[in-house]
Symmetry: C2
Subunit: 149 residues, 2 copies
């Protein structure tokens, strides 16, 4: 199983089940016949930026990172499915192509999403250029943006 697949699964699991420690992930994956160790889960958690949060009841629970506004997320999802053409990164830049006339709207939504990785964002008619902090950030942004399709 590829890392990206496992990451997707972890995101599912952390929402569906109450995960109180990393071993819980190891066990859940084991149930599905996927063998990983705690070391790998620790790295996954870091990459996915999951957080271990003290819960209401007194225990702990791993959570997804704080999401952007539901509203923004909805609109991004619709616009991306609708008008997305391609995405690529070059150094600390992310270049997104859209159908003509949609780039400005997309740029506005990306601004509204307040990605921590993002410095700024400019748009033409069918092109959005996102400037991020560094190459790593650009790659992470690419993944996040693609996930809306």
């Amino acid at each position: 199983m590829k890392k990206d697949e496992r990451h997707q699964l972890l995101r599912k699991l952390v929402q569906k089940d109450v995960i109180t420690k990393q071993e819980d992930f190891v066990d859940k994956l084991h149930e599905r016949g996927i063998e990983v160790t705690q070391a790998t889960i620790s790295r996954d958690i870091k990459e996915l930026q999951l957080v271990k949060a003290p819960a209401q009841n007194g225990g702990y629970r791993y959570n997804l990172p704080p999401e952007m506004d539901y509203d923004v997320s909805q609109k991004l999802s619709r616009l991306m499915k609708d008008a997305f053409v391609s995405i690529d990164t070059q150094r600390e830049f992310v270049l997104i192509r859209t159908l003509p006339g949609n780039a400005f709207a997309l740029a506005s939504l990306i601004e509204a999403a307040k990605y921590k990785e993002m410095f700024g964002c400019v748009s033409g008619d069918d092109t959005v250029l996102v400037i991020s902090r560094d190459e790593e950030s650009a790659k992470r942004l690419q993944k996040k943006i693609i996930s809306f399709i």
Copy 2:
């Protein structure tokens, strides 16, 4: 130094400084002449529901719990300073008294705040009754609501 004071200070510190581990808190407090151990900080973190989040740069950072909308928070703050009279808990209930005619507005804002501890919330003219999950939740809600004054 009282626990509540220390909690307030921790909330300040976690915003101002980059705290990567609990010992960082111990050190920061030590600099201010406050002697606590890591054990106490661990308990504080649990009570304040601070989270250790993987950061953009590859490290870790303790953060405040995800906040409610800025907008809601602003309005709550204004209304509380304006119209708050008293607050008390009884079992799993929180009873808030306001100046006459303000309870409904306060209840709406409390609803909008989407506190996890809250079941429901009803209001009269000068009284808001919040129903929470249990006694502990009620006490936590009381603290959170008072903090807007």
